[in-house]
Symmetry: C2
Subunit: 206 residues, 2 copies
DNA sequence: GTCTATATTATGATAGAC
DNA sequence: GTCTATCATAATATAGAC
């Protein structure tokens, strides 16, 4: 009874991602996932234990590879500051645009108060903050950013990078851009690079 | 059997806002709302028809007064551009920080694909975009922003302003700031003003 | 690995008494 | 306006056959 080409575990995962993305985690039932995957409901428990297990699996799978990249990039302290900063932002944008569905699920679910969300914050997001703070501290040493608070700048940069991928529907319907497209990622990166330069250089001149 | 001081309708609304904020719309049940409000479940249907009605009521209540303010401010075209722009951003920040719970509910629920979300986008959020586009167009006429795309700038500014109120937990636990406090709103506004000036002035000098 | 069958509990919603 | 009682359905989850 198995469909050709793809294993059930994978089919369940794909279906869950698709439905969580569109309808939200609590807005999706295991039955819907099973139907979408063309698989029996009981198989979900077999592979992922329960609904929460599906979400946890999804989150870990997302953050681990991303943070390997980020960590590596944050060690390139021999690069010019603006270069390192824009490269770190580029990593985030590229990663998000290649995983738009999971990105939106995670961004949304992190805004719900839960143990899982708190764990993600303490394990990954504090680390992420420190990566960016380090770079900006280097930037201050180089004479940039004199009158902009570092922490708020990090918060701001991350807001810019995350929000369009959370609110993809808004980007589509209000700005007529497609967050899933490579073109958007490219355009967005270019824009951000320009903006970062504006911020840094301006303050340098003061 | 009525508790003193507050009417049931109001108590239900408050309870719903509190629980939707913490656990999400789909993550909250009518029974939980009734318990939190100290009121019978049936009363929710009596006042708000059904669960969806509660969410709709909440959204309209939020956007109407906000857009009255925004609309009014967007007519002040005699002000200097930076002044008008920062004032519009300030309106958003103040409004969000005075309604942190509903703001988070709405920001989160807009990222779920639904008819309601689509309506909010077409009724309010496109209008919001146009307010900001108009100001930035004035800015371009004044010789600013030469190499920054207007629409992307609007998207970016709104991302900065919205994201911290959606991801309040992140702001708290990673940046040790309290999004509900007036102090945060003040600090954030000051920062943004500085940043807007950086962006505009820098490009002016080129 | 996959399915059937079922247990158990929860859910949104309403009819009708007070 | 408020509550009791109840319905119909839907939810997650598991035990056990194949």
């Amino acid at each position: 009874m198995r469909a050709p080409g793809e294993k059930s575990e994978q089919k369940i995962f794909r279906a869950a991602v698709k439905l969580f993305d569109i309808n939200g985690y609590h807005g999706t039932t295991l039955r819907e996932i099973a139907r979408e995957a063309g698989v029996n409901v009981a198989l979900i428990s077999y592979y992922f234990k329960n609904k929460k297990g599906l979400l946890e699996y999804l989150m870990i799978r997302y953050f681990e590879p991303l943070f390997e990249q980020m960590e590596q990039e944050s060690r390139n302290t021999d690069l010019p500051v603006e270069e390192q900063l824009t490269r770190m932002l580029l990593i985030l944008i590229r990663y998000q645009s290649r995983h738009t569905q999971i990105t939106r699920i995670i961004q949304r679910e992190l805004s719900v108060e839960s143990i899982l969300a708190r764990e993600i914050m303490s394990v990954y997001l504090t680390r992420q903050k420190h990566f960016f703070v380090s770079v900006l501290e280097r930037s201050v040493e180089a004479g940039h950013l004199r009158n902009l608070d570092i922490e708020l700048t990090v918060m701001t940069l991350l807001s810019i990078v995350h929000y369009p991928y959370l609110n993809a529907q808004w980007v589509r319907e209000v700005f007529y851009l497609e967050p899933m497209s490579d073109q958007f990622a490219a355009q967005f990166s270019t824009y951000l690079k320009e903006m970062v330069l504006s911020l840094i250089k301006k303050n340098e001149e003061k």
